[in-house]
Symmetry: C2
Subunit: 459 residues, 2 copies
Amino acid sequence: MADPEAFRRVQQRLRSGAEEGLAGLKEFLRLPTISTLPEFAADLRRGAQWLAARMQAAGLEEVRLLETGGHPTVYGHWLHAPGRPTVLVYGHYDVQPADPLDLWTTPPFSPEVRDGRIYARGAADDKGQVWMHLQAVHALLETFGRLPCNLKFLVEGEEEVGSGGVIRLVAQERQRLAADLVVVSDTAFFAPGLPSLSLGLRGLCSLEVEVRGPTRDLHSGEYGGAVANPLHALAELVAGLHDARGRVTVPGFYDHVRPLRADERAAMAALPFDDAQWLAAVGLESGWGEEGFSSLERTWARPTLEINGMWGGFQGAGGKTVIAATAHAKITCRLVPDQQPRAVLRAVREHLQAHCPPGVHISVREGEGSPASLVSVESPMVTAAADALELAFGRRPVFVRTGGSIGVVPAFREALGAPVVLMGFGLPEDRIHAPDESLDLDNFRRGQEAIAAYWLGLG
Amino acid sequence: MADPEAFRRVQQRLRSGAEEGLAGLKEFLRLPTISTLPEFAADLRRGAQWLAARMQAAGLEEVRLLETGGHPTVYGHWLHAPGRPTVLVYGHYDVQPADPLDLWTTPPFSPEVRDGRIYARGAADDKGQVWMHLQAVHALLETFGRLPCNLKFLVEGEEEVGSGGVIRLVAQERQRLAADLVVVSDTAFFAPGLPSLSLGLRGLCSLEVEVRGPTRDLHSGEYGGAVANPLHALAELVAGLHDARGRVTVPGFYDHVRPLRADERAAMAALPFDDAQWLAAVGLESGWGEEGFSSLERTWARPTLEINGMWGGFQGAGGKTVIAATAHAKITCRLVPDQQPRAVLRAVREHLQAHCPPGVHISVREGEGSPASLVSVESPMVTAAADALELAFGRRPVFVRTGGSIGVVPAFREALGAPVVLMGFGLPEDRIHAPDESLDLDNFRRGQEAIAAYWLGLG
């Protein structure tokens, strides 16, 4: 537990530097670091260089860009606390695409503060949270001239595209990255004012499907009724991926899914969660999913198969009476312990190939995958994080899980053997991955204090 | 039957003017008259004005643009043959969109002659065929100083978008358009060298479907598994529109379909048609469709329901792990006698609404519709057309049907009470509605002779 007097001092320092801290975050948010779109590659590199300069300015040493073949990873450390634990802080400076642009109140890369929130793509996911860590380091060094523990920062630029580069990097750089604990701040509180620690993440794997019919688009008057329509075939394939009970029909899909224990289900059920309200917030009157599970169980502890995009034929205004030559779908599966991504990808691919309707051909391309992760609520590193959150937010955190995926987390566990603590400061209303993403500024400020308290408590 | 000497004289005239005729066609084909795309509206009007000037130059009188609220219709006539029949010649100067542009060997609006064909969007559908009629009028007037019958020309600019304007116009202008016969040249020979008369056209009606889920795109990690995905729902709806026997599942869809008579099936079976070859020409190994019908029966005499376009979610490079807020589909049905478009549209809409999966909402917008048409092979106007084709091509034509639709044809039958003869000069390999559309130049030249022979035979 952090010494109360030391905590008070660093807290004051953070508060007096709050304005400057917010100005730095705005600069960070102005950089359009969209990792999935090739035309932004130069912006990613500029973003990495900007971040490296700010890490150096905060007091980190040996700051550098580590090349991964794609968008670079930014590394820096402070290692002058012999005998104290070493913490690896992970985050990402890349962001999701900003489309549809017309649904943003203000432009996605022109950060603006409104009603105690800062609006911009990446505000919560994950630039704001990376920035909190840098502010905490800076304040601790300014206050005490030293950090209470050893810190390594690893901030990557490919989180939103599967973290392929940094996953290889972590496997190659075990020495450089060796740590007693990995801390990730890329998750959210369960509710406003309710600090939370996430024990688990779902994994993720992706596929792309192409259904091919005729060699060219056909006139639907000349051929309609006598040839298979690739769009019908794709619809049939997609419709066949779930049954009436909301389960994925791919054979073997659930084979290695770890069942929820009764105590885990009870803990989830005890959380302050209003299903109807959660759905109403996104305009829905009813949920949908696997029979026999609550919404929290469905999103935290059950695997999914989702179509993220589907297209073919004429999409313009008016009409065009064609039978399209091809139809396309992008698929991702969210995975839970103990599913293996490659096995799931293979099962989905083989299922799609086996069910390809007559008259068309199918190609399925397997993408990247990462498994789920889950830590024990009894880990001392989890307890220390809970103490720090209580100190900064005045309330003991709840333990939750995260339905999303952070691709590199499984690599940390495998390569470094260190526990991963997910201490995130977003809120459910942050609209990450969507128009009008934002970050609550009260969480932004107290989050910096919680991080400082965590290091003081470990040191 | 045309007088052989008169036919020989106009034939010579057409042959000596062939080069000039082709140059005029090229000019016509350079105008990008894409009726479905709003940005080409001014090009449509320029196209109509250009055509009006050429009709006047050919010797037609009272040439003018008739306003329909959309792209104008061009009208002109020659009425100095009292006591002789009056023929209304119908065609269209608008064309389909040219995308995908990268699949054209030469640009779609830069006509080029290669190996006895002229390549351009609209070469066969339908500018080339409209131009044949003008060349025939011009040659007859130059040769004889008069036409052998009364002629009215009606060339519209909205055929590819359902002919809404000209359909209203035909109903309003019964007096001006009154005729003993309507001739449409917007169809094709059954095979190269095999002149054909088409007895029927399928009708057409269209719908647009929107499936709505959450009010915004959702993060598939946060919500995936617990909310309905609009793309899955759309796929389920589309997949449910056909059964395993290739039939449309919409209740009532086949209620008024006129069954094929045994003699009609025998006539279709007797045509020189190689199913495997027809499919192989567009890269297919097998057909697909309603059980118990041949490909010709499926495309000529059976109704269809086709998805012409379907889309939703992320379509870019890479991945985006979203659950899309909306999913979309464009649907058209090809209709046969005696289906009524409005009844079919209502049945499809109600079926889709009734089968909307839980957790999403659906909107279905009914578009335009036109019924199928069919004339008797025993009509004297059909016999006269067959005689003319035999004179110009040296071979008795076969009688076929057309799987496509010409929206205004039902209006002619209803408003004018005149038989409609479909005497078209395209070929199956013309690639209408697709990249590299072209017209056979031998058919282009002999077609002009056949048209002149038809008028001489009627006169």
